[in-house]
């Protein structure tokens, strides 16, 4: 348990910032930029690390929910019925705690992608309409969440409108 991950990351950042970076020659811009990026990554990691599991579980839960809604809405020929069954199977398999939440989220998302592609050819107009609305609503939520997760990078033009990482996790777990 000791030392804490936050402390370890913080001390590495301090060493890079106060010792390594100032020691790099001014005429080595690539090395200086790379060192600065390393510091930036570590600072971001230090903010995220304590919430990573909760965040990935939240993304997994959202993907499973989307998959469930899409499978229920699936309507069309035999190919889309098979694709919907694959989504349901991936959702069930996502209970497997051996794989990481990210791996399980991706397994469900891949089957959702296959269902959407199949729906283009084999789905009814109603399914295409319904899937459009469901995926778009999920996409709005997820992109906002992911932008908030990486808000500390500092490049988001609407950063002030995004939730902080602790706010997101608190809302998701309340």
């Amino acid at each position: 348990m000791t030392p804490d991950v936050d402390v370890r990351l913080g001390t590495v950042v301090t060493a890079l910032r106060q010792v390594v970076l100032p020691a790099l020659p001014k005429d080595e811009p690539l090395a200086r930029e790379q060192a600065s990026l390393c510091i930036g990554q570590l600072v971001l990691l230090a903010e995220q690390v304590r919430y990573t599991t909760e965040y990935e579980l939240l993304c997994l839960a959202e993907m499973r929910h989307l998959g469930s809604l899409l499978a229920d809405a699936a309507d069309g020929g035999p190919a889309i019925c098979r694709a919907a069954a694959s989504v349901r199977a991936a959702i069930t398999a996502a209970d497997d705690p051996v794989r990481t939440p990210r791996e399980r989220r991706n397994a469900v998302a891949r089957e959702i992608d296959a269902l959407l592609h199949t729906g283009t050819e084999d789905g009814t107009a109603e399914f295409r309409h319904r899937s459009h609305a469901l995926v778009l609503a999920h996409g709005v939520r997820q992109s906002t969440r992911d932008r908030g997760w990486f808000r500390a990078c500092g490049w988001d033009p609407d950063a002030d409108s995004l939730p902080s990482v602790p706010e997101m996790i608190a809302e998701a777990t309340s």
Binding site: L30, E33, Q34, S36, L37, C38, G40, Q41, L66, R102, R105, N106, A109, R110, I112, D113, L116, H117, T120, R128, H129, S131, H132, V135, L136, H138, G139, V140, Q142, S143, T144, D146, R147, W149, F150, C153, G154, W155, D156, P157, D158
Partner: protein, 282 residues
């Protein structure tokens, strides 16, 4: 391409060209050095031009040149130029848009690491809304493909453009495509009064009005929306797909930059969602 731009748009001199990749393993070019900066000296620590800000004084110097060179690129007579590595999408009216969707969706299939249903939805949405453009139309132009702040250099004293850079995405297509790219939210920034400026240079309306006035072309809002989604789609694919997978594979000397930049793709996914919500399903 640089030959076609000679005397029209400032570009570096070509020292070596491998158009089919037979020497380098992939198509490539070696050019001369050109003096100049991509950001005002105060912003010299930024990468890729993202987050660059210009004061009003700088904007007054740069905006006319930015528009002038965009107009000149689009005004290139590609039909009579010597462009052996370029093919015009003239087989049918929707080919210009279709080629782009085919290309970038293929890149996504090749390079994706984490799947995103919104990216799949965006592909379907674009395929159902492919805008038409006719082969003889003046609207089919030579496109830069990555025309934005960060991809032109200027003299830090005079403000005069010294080079337009990063031509690797140049191709023949619909003029709306470059406009959609310029309007990407990530490339924008606020003016002193908080108004959003495309490429941190001018408002959306100013860009479209001045472009139309300079070229005589008419911007179609529906077509522009398509190309804005395409632009965001391309950027999402580049960052969440190609850049990220290259970092995982350790393919170049900028892996730490690529992994740091990868999540910028989420800004583009937000942009895709916003435009598709606004435009509707069909």
């Amino acid at each position: 391409m640089f030959g076609a731009m000679a005397g029209r748009v400032p570009t570096p001199a070509v020292r070596f060209l491998d158009g089919d990749g037979s020497h380098l393993g992939a198509p490539g070019i070696v050019t001369s050095f050109i003096p100049g900066v991509t950001t005002p000296p105060v912003d010299a620590t930024l990468v890729s031009g993202v987050g660059t800000t210009f004061t009003q004084e700088w904007r007054q110097r740069l905006v006319p040149q930015f528009l002038e060179f965009l107009t000149r690129i689009h005004g290139t007579d590609w039909r009579s130029s010597d462009l052996p590595h370029f093919t015009a999408p003239t087989a049918h009216p929707r080919q210009a848009a279709l080629w782009q969707v085919n290309w970038w969706s293929r890149v996504w299939r090749d390079d994706q690491v984490d799947p995103y249903p919104l990216i799949t939805l965006a592909e379907r949405w674009m395929r159902e809304r492919l805008p038409a453009i006719h082969a003889e139309s003046d609207d089919l132009v030579l496109l830069h493909g990555d025309y934005r702040t960060g991809n032109f250099m200027f003299d830090p004293d005079s403000g005069r453009f010294t080079a337009v850079l990063d031509w690797e995405l140049a191709h023949i297509g619909d003029f709306h495509e470059d406009l959609g790219w310029i309007l990407q939210r990530l490339f924008a920034g606020p003016a002193e009064d908080g108004e959003v400026l495309a490429c941190n240079l001018m408002t959306r309306d100013e860009l479209l009005d001045r472009y139309q006035a300079a070229t005589g072309r008419t911007v179609n809002p529906r077509t522009l929306a398509f190309y804005e989604v395409l632009a965001a789609y391309k950027c999402a694919v580049m960052n969440l797909g190609t850049g990220y997978s290259a970092a995982i594979r350790g393919h170049n000397h900028q892996d730490v930059l690529l992994s740091f930049l990868a999540p910028v793709g989420h800004v583009f996914l937000g942009e895709i969602a916003s435009i598709i919500e606004r435009e509707g399903e069909l």
